[in-house]
Every structure is written in C-alpha cells, then in structure tokens.
Amino acid sequence: MKLELTAAQRAARAEFRAFAAAEILPHAGRWDREAALPRTVIDALRERRYLGSNVPVEHGGVGRDMIDYGLLTEEIARGCSSVRSLLTVHDMVAHAVLRWGSPAQRQRWLPALARGEVLAALALSEPNAGSDAKSVETIAVDAGDGWVLDGRKKWTTFGQLAGLFLVLAQCDGQPTAFLVERESPGLAVRPLQGVWGTRASMLAELTFAGCRVPRESLLGRIGFGLSHVVAAALEHGRYSVAWGAVGIGQACLDACRRYTAERRQFGVPLADHQLIRRMLTDMIVDVRAARLLCLRAGWLRDQRDPGAFMETMAAKYFASTMAVRAANDAVQIHGANGVSDDYPVGRYLRDAKVTEIIEGSTQIQQITLPLFDFQEL
C-alpha cells in the first residue's frame, strides 16, 4: 500500500495549479459578480484539452485517468467553482455518451466533446422534479422518423452555452435519455438569472415545444435513461463535484492561512489565537480526509470496480459537507471582511452550499449510503 501520488501525477497537478493561478484565480471574483464566464477562459480550457479529458485516445480524447482528472478538478475549483461546473457537466455528458452511446453516437460526439468544439449540458431537473428524477414530466413521443419532445427543464448548468443537451424524458412512461442539439426546432433556451451559488455557471431554462429530434438521438434504450444513462452521468458528476468540494476546502485554507498571518487582533496575529487554530485544524484535517476519499474513489473507478459507486458517493457526501464547514469557518475567521466582496471566502461559502445540492443532495446520500454499506456486510 502506497498512498502517494506518482511523479507524473505530481507534475500534472503542478501544471493544473499553474494554469489555475494564471487563468482563473485572478478573475474568479469578477466572473462571480458578472454571473458569466468569458469566452477566453473556455478557450483556454479547450486549448489545454481540459474539457472532456477522460475521453479515450481512440475516440479523439487525451484519455486522462480518474486520478489526474480529480487533481485537475480540485485545482480548477480552488480557483473558481463555476469553471469547475463547466468541466463537471460537460464531462458528465461525455461520460454518458462514452458509456452508453452507440458506435455512431460515439463517433459523432466524442471527438467534438473531447476537443471542446461543442459544450454539453445535462437537462435533468425540472420545476417539479429535482431529487425525484424518475418523475420528470418532459415527454418524448415516437414520431416514426424521430422523436417529439415536450416539457421544461430548469437549472441546466451552462445551458446558456451548451450546443448539446443530455435530456431525460418519459417515453411511454419510461425514463429515457436523448441527445438533443441546441438548434433543434422547438427548443428554446432562456438564461436563468438570480442564483447566488456558482453564480457564473450560466444556468438556463429549456422549453421543448414540439421539439423534433432525429431517430438516432435516443441514447441507450427506452426505459434505461435514468437507471443507466443518467445514472452514469451522475456518478461521474458526483466524482467531479467531490473533487470540486476539496478544491473549495483547500481555497478556504489558503485564504485563512494568509488572513490569519496578516490580520492582528489583541496585539497578535489571528493565527496565535487558540480558537482560530482550532478552526484551522478542523479545516486542515477535513480537507485531507476528503481528498483521501476522493483518491480512493478515483482508484476504484479506474479499476472499474463495482465498489466505486459507494466510494464515490461517500467521497461526495463528505467532501461537500466538509466544504460548507470549511467555508463557514473561513467566513467566521475573516469576520466582517468575510461577508464583503473584498475577500473570496463569501463566494466559497455560496459555492460550497451548491455542492451539497447538486448530483444528489446531502439528504439523498444520507438515505442511500447505508443501503450500499449493508450490501457489504
């Protein structure tokens, strides 16, 4: 048993960290205030091949393994959770196409997704269907030469930019997945404003009104859209979000190290106050523990081990709740500065809260994890 990164993995992490320091960190606060990512950062991700980076070489990708992918995600999130969200949703769709796409679908979409030529988004949640995904109300009807979709999707992360949507709809009452292009007739995309977490993740609301898509838009089989196709996407998303939460935790620690060294109260730096050190200790240990859970999940995912499902869920549960604790303490340590735009910790708290909601809420993990564990007894 050797619990350390290889030289290649450390080098990859250094590359990701340098990228985030140069291209993301200096701008993240502004992107958050503007509630949008500029084209430049997306182009930079594309040029570095950071989008769809798990797509294997034979499908036009760079074939990054799960550990490298995790390290990338942490470093990106350490800079900006909205950029991390782009990686998450894009890669979720790429993963679902890789896992359940037909040879023709893989050939058509994977090279484009791996090169970032097309951005992808998951259109799952609806006004009346969140955690209860099997109850989506969007319907798909077999129209002979294709499918006709009717319904509404909400909270579609990067829906404002995506050219391809993975859509869950009911087909004869059975959850079924479709790949829907943005230009499909009958699909309208409306920006969704006013969110206060991962604010630059450019959410959209989608309306399908007699939206016609070709026969080959069906991804997987009828009735397997949630249990297999979307489940595969969500499993990948949980892994990505878990690492993203580690990135937030590390960013909180970075900010608090700086602040507690500089800020003086009662004649000494904050770091000399024992109650501040206690919060720093919790943060340090929590971040390290979450990272270890993520590494374990990533290793199992690379082995294609069935146990990866539980480990990924455990990692996401711990990391997201950890990120909220860390960010909450980070704001507390910063005092009034913590709730001002002059410091990033308020953003970290808002972004951390989102990780507890997406890709399976904390409560969904709490009712599901024991079921996994009992299987192993």
Partner: protein
Amino acid sequence: MDGMDATQIKIKEFLSRFFKSHDLQPDEDIFALGFVNSLLAMQLVAFVEKEFGIQVEDADLDLDNFRSIRAISSLVARKTGAPAPA
C-alpha cells in the same frame, strides 16, 4: 449451488450481497422478486464487466439480459463466445 457453473456461482455470490435473506435460484426473476433498485443496476453492469472481462453495450440494455442468474450468464457467454450455460 448445485447445478450451477462457475459463472453462475460468481453471479449468485454478487447478487447475494443485495439479497441476503434469499437463496436465489438460477431462473428466479430478480425484477419480479423486487430486488432490483437503482443501486444495483449500475453495480451489476460494473460487476459483469470487471468479473468477466466484457463490455456491456447499449444494445445489451434489455431487462431480459439481466432478469436472472441464468440470463446474466447467457449474456456473459454470448459476449465472451463461451458455450451457452445449461
């Protein structure tokens, strides 16, 4: 596990983690027994892929391929080119 081949025994061992109090028989319908939930679906795919070195494709997404120990072993046999199970 009388009458089961090595593949079927492995499948039964895996499924038994989910159905602890039930002695699952080769032809029992795991869907009809109410044992399949969303946790099992993806884990079952991952299990057969890793254990038997096959790739479950979208074309294999048919409940009849996963309905029983014998159905799953037949899928494995088809994908590996092994003789169909008894």
